[in-house]
């Protein structure tokens, strides 16, 4: 646009990605749907890695005094298990669905900043590879997923493991932050005509609030990690006790991030459930506006409760009770959501598809996880259950029973739209029941183990503590979960090959993504929809439901069918993250490499600025 001819001649001489199919088309893509699919498969791979780590943990703990896994390796396993699951599996899986579906749900052609979106993905991949490469470069961190100093300082943790962990998280964190900005702008500013905020699907609301949590909480962990990194690499003394440091500062910084983080994980899950339940109940979401409000309230209050992870650091009774009470308050908006979901089901025509089963599983399991959370929030009794398997039970109930179950639901519900093939329903249901049973066998005993006094993060325990049977049960459960995951993988792979082709609207859906073919065409909507109500598609299918003066929604009022300009691919996002990825290794091994990496990514940025947008004009194929 504003580039001079001189600039243009130079930058335009650079090769532009031309491929529309094949490897390079994926590497250079800026299409939100393709990026979503990249997120999906990458996150799935990391989920399997994190799952194998979990299985090793479980096998080691199956019986007392086993020596399958050495103590240091065990500590690395749970550190990497948690880091992988949270940052490289669950969050990116939600990002996969944000990416594919947010533009479809709000009626946009793409996200607000398609190239930044590609950058987010590549930063996530760079961070994930960087973190996991520590397995072969001297071993990963063993300091737990919150990496408290001073244990995580060089003095007690020599080697590069913690550095890999810090830099890996910083790299992935850049991607997360960038996608936070991107989705807020997309949702606020890219909505189709008529799609007012209060007509948006709940999933869009959940994504919006989640993105705000990201934008406000990730800078804080960035600071915490940077302080740690400077101590380790440059010899600053932030966490040097002999210089007078207060180690709990890191605790606070970490959990100011850490608690919003758990809602970053669960709010999208709640959004998914809020989409699935109405469809398979053939009823609108019960209490939509209250649901919106409670989502915001959860996000907001979530910033004021972080110290409930710190009841035993000696903050004193005043601070402890303040945070106890603040934490308990969160049960109210969450309860409202739970009851509204049941209200949605009540009086409906319930169809128990695999997607529906997983969402119902979410309701049952998240309920247990949430209730154990409230039990944890009472400071005096927290000091007993704190850092025991009761906590491990609690957070797996909310993160697997909650987040993972709803992501499974999303896979079965939205998978046909993403991949153009139906998943096998029978296999889906079998996998659900296996997962449901395996999950409860794995994690319910943990709640009891905590009450029996079993601390977390121990690689071994003696016989005679009364923990044997429950641990064995838990390990058995984990194996059953593994079977279920394998069934789902089999289902996914075979269905994508030979499954029935997905129609546009296989579930009798309610929202805009079902108005277009499966998989969605590159430009999403041949004619941008003109939205006149919540559940737009549902109302279009059942015009008699349009109430009062509201004009019945119809395709007539949609935007014109005209040629559509879509941005072409770009190498630059990849280049920028590659540069930072290399710089990460440089920081640990060699300064020249560090500088080289930074220069590479700066070049990428400049090229990004000048290369132009490589627009292509597409004539919609008249599918609609």
């Amino acid at each position: 646009m504003a580039t001079t001819t001189l600039e243009r001649s130079f930058w335009q001489a650079l090769p532009k990605p031309r491929a529309r199919t094949g490897f390079w088309s994926w590497v250079t893509t800026v299409d939100h749907k393709r990026i979503g699919i990249l997120y999906f498969w990458t996150a799935l791979a990391f989920f399997l890695i994190g799952g194998v780590e979990a299985l090793l943990i479980r096998l080691q703990l199956a019986r007392p005094e086993q020596d399958l896994v050495a103590p240091d390796l065990f500590n690395q396993l749970f550190t990497m298990h948690a880091t992988t699951m949270i940052f490289l599996a669950i969050m990116p899986l939600t990002a996969a669905f944000f990416n594919y579906f947010i533009p479809l749900l709000v009626g946009a052609r793409d996200v607000a900043f398609p190239k930044l979106n590609a950058l987010s993905y590549w930063m996530f991949l760079a961070g994930g590879i960087f973190l996991n490469s520590s397995w072969v470069l001297g071993g990963p961190s063993d300091a737990g997923w919150f990496g408290y100093p001073n244990y995580s300082l060089s003095e007690f943790n020599p080697g590069l493991g913690v550095d890999f962990w810090i830099i890996g998280l910083l790299l992935a964190g850049i991607g997360t932050l960038v996608s936070g900005f991107n989705f807020i702008v997309t949702i606020l500013n890219m909505r189709a005509p008529g799609m007012s905020l209060m007509r948006m699907p709940m999933f869009a609301w959940a994504t919006l609030v989640t993105s705000f949590l990201i934008v406000f909480s990730f800078p804080v962990i960035t600071v915490a990690l940077l302080l740690l990194l400077f101590d380790r690499v440059f010899g600053t003394v932030f966490f040097d006790v002999f210089s007078g440091a207060d180690l709990t500062l890191y605790h606070h910084l970490f959990w100011v991030f850490g608690h919003p983080e758990v809602y970053i994980i669960v709010l999208p899950a709640m959004g998914i459930v809020s989409e699935v339940l109405p469809v398979f109940s053939r009823k609108p979401l019960f209490g939509y506006s209250v649901m919106v409000f409670s989502t915001m309230l959860i996000g907001f209050v979530g910033f004021g409760v972080w110290s409930h992870h710190l009841f035993t650091v000696g903050m004193g009774p005043v601070v402890n009770t303040i945070f106890s009470l603040a934490t308990m308050i969160i049960a109210v908006p969450t309860g409202i959501k739970m009851f509204n979901w049941i209200g949605t089901l009540f009086g409906g025509r319930l169809r128990f598809t695999a997607a529906m089963l997983y969402s119902l599983g979410f309701l049952a399991l998240f309920l247990i996880g949430g209730l154990t959370g409230v039990m944890l929030s009472a400071a005096p009794s927290n000091t007993q259950i704190h850092h025991t398997y009761f906590v491990v039970g609690h957070f797996h109930y909310v993160m697997i029973g909650g987040a993972l179950f709803s992501l499974m639901s999303a896979l079965h519900y939205w998978g046909p739209k993403m991949f153009g093939r139906m998943l096998d329903e029978r296999l889906g249901k079998v996998a659900f029941w296996t997962l449901f049973v395996g999950f409860n066998l794995t994690f319910f005993p943990m709640n009891i183990l905590g009450v029996m006094g079993m601390p977390r993060r121990i690689y071994t325990y003696s016989a005679g503590m009364g923990w044997d049977g429950l641990n064995a049960t838990s390990t058995l459960g984990a194996l059953i979960m593994a079977v279920s995951i394998l069934i789902t993988l089999y289902n996914l792979v075979t269905s994508l090959r030979n499954g029935e082709r997905a129609p546009a609207d296989p579930w009798d859906g309610r929202t805009l993504e079902w108005a277009i073919p499966s998989p969605a065409p590159e430009y999403n909507f041949a004619r941008l929809p003109n939205v006149s109500s919540r559940d737009e598609l549902w109302v279009r299918k059942h015009p008699q439901l349009a109430e009062g003066a509201a004009v019945a929604a119809s395709a007539e009022s949609d935007g014109p069918a005209e040629p559509i300009a879509m941005p072409g691919g770009s190498y630059m996002p990849l280049l920028v993250s590659l540069g930072l990825f290399i710089a990460g290794y440089g920081l640990l091994y060699s300064m020249p490499v560090f500088v080289g990496g930074i220069v590479l990514s700066l070049l990428g940025l400049i090229g990004w600025g000048f290369e132009g947008d490589n627009m292509r004009i597409i004539q919609p194929g008249g599918e609609q």
Binding site: P71, N75, A143, G144, N150, Y151, F156, D246, L247, T248, S281, R282, K283, P284, F286, Y288, S289, G314, G316, P317, N320, T321, S324, M328, A331, V332, G335, F339, N340, G343, L345, F346, G347, G348, R349, R351, F352, T353, L357, L360, L371, V374, P380, S381, Q384, I385, H386, D424, E425, N440, F444, P445, I448, V451, M452, G453, R456, R457, Y459, D508
Partner: protein, 362 residues
């Protein structure tokens, strides 16, 4: 959808069984089962836990009951249900068509209901909040009576207990009088640890550079298990401790006898002990360990003045038998790889003498 219903019931029954497990015999026998408390602090914490537990069970049963009822009562029947069958596109289309006549009332919400389910949880939370606040302050207050002071210092990976008023220092096994509150000052020498004796009280962090306080009291004589609850490195799992609660008289006796030197029953033993003492004071041992009344003044390892009395070795992972003691001293790294005590390399006879010496310190 019968399977949903039965599975829900199965889930409930399973959960019920597991909950019924809590007060069972097996649980009571578990040494760190804190719902069977041995003192007022753990008792109070357990009571609050049980209060929250019953409220949560109540909520769970109610909510899941309504959920199960809803699932059974409102499952789609006939053609509409076909949508969930793996019957392919045709069946789905049919179900969608059937749905047109079978559209349930499209209820959008109800403010009255929403108010109800905002208020009820709120009230329940108040029921939990009140004792939470009360107990928090009660437990933070100084104990009544005549407390005995103990300074707890966490080390990788063992515990040090100092009795400033009595001039006693010991490791991994804290002796306390029954019925008297114990005021604990908790610190750390290296990384963060977490002090926890479940049957006596909840946890408190041992953070380098900070001083934390708590108290507990044992109402019955007995041996109470505890262990470190904060990830502190390789042997975090093997950083255990015992609290031995003694009747006051016995406690006095122990305190008086502490540091009185070896107890021997025969001349042969006396000689072995004497040789062992020399080994201890000439080989590396004395550099890291202290034994009251001797030249051994090291502080890197546990004070061994009453090692003969202890029930366990190496922070609660070995029973204190002569064989285990010999095994530990001979090669600590094979017992606790990475532990901060090196293999000193004693000859067999030196080893036997040292063991005899340490056994005599009771």
């Amino acid at each position: 959808m019968c399977s949903v219903k039965s599975a829900m019931w199965r889930g409930l029954i399973l959960g019920g069984l597991l909950l019924a497990f809590l007060p069972s015999q097996a649980a009571m026998a578990a040494p760190q089962y804190w719902l069977d408390p041995a003192g007022p602090v753990a008792e109070m914490q357990g009571r609050l836990f049980l209060l929250t537990l019953w409220i949560m069970i109540g909520i769970f049963v109610t909510v899941s009951g309504v959920l199960v009822y809803t699932l059974v009562r409102f499952r789609a029947k006939g053609a509409a249900a076909a949508g969930s069958a793996p019957g392919g596109a045709a069946a789905r289309r049919e179900s969608a068509a059937a749905g047109e006549q079978d559209l349930p009332p499209q209820i959008e919400g109800s403010h009255k209901l929403e108010l109800v389910w905002t208020l009820i949880p709120f009230l329940l939370l108040i029921v939990i909040a009140i004792p939470t606040v009360r107990y928090s302050f009660a437990l933070a207050a100084d104990p009544e009576g005549d407390p005995i002071k103990v300074r707890v210092v966490g080390h990788q990976w063992w515990w040090e207990f100092q009795y400033p008023e009595l001039g006693i220092v010991t490791g991994n096994e804290m002796r306390i009088p029954v019925g008297r509150p114990v005021e604990l000052v908790i610190e750390s020498d290296d990384v963060i640890h977490k002090f926890w004796v479940p049957k006596l009280a909840g946890k408190m962090d041992a953070i380098p550079g900070r001083v934390n306080r708590m108290w507990f009291q044992a109402d019955e004589p007995g041996v109470y298990y505890g262990q470190c609850a904060e990830m502190c490195g390789t042997h975090h799992a093997n950083m255990r401790l015992r609290v031995v609660a003694l009747p006051p008289a016995e406690f006095e006796q122990w305190a008086d006898n502490w540091g009185r030197g070896p107890v021997v029953t025969s001349e042969a033993e006396r000689q072995a002990v004497e040789r062992g003492r020399q080994v201890f004071e000439t080989r590396a041992c004395f550099g890291c360990h202290s034994i009251e009344g001797t030249a051994a003044r090291g502080v890197a390892g546990p004070n061994l003045t009453d090692i003969g009395l202890r029930t366990t070795l190496a922070a609660g992972i070995l029973e204190n038998t002569p064989e285990n003691l010999a095994r530990w001293i001979d090669d600590p790294q094979s017992v606790k790889p990475g532990a901060l005590m090196p293999r000193v390399g004693l000859t067999d006879s030196e080893l036997n003498d040292v063991v005899a010496y340490l056994r005599s310190l009771r």
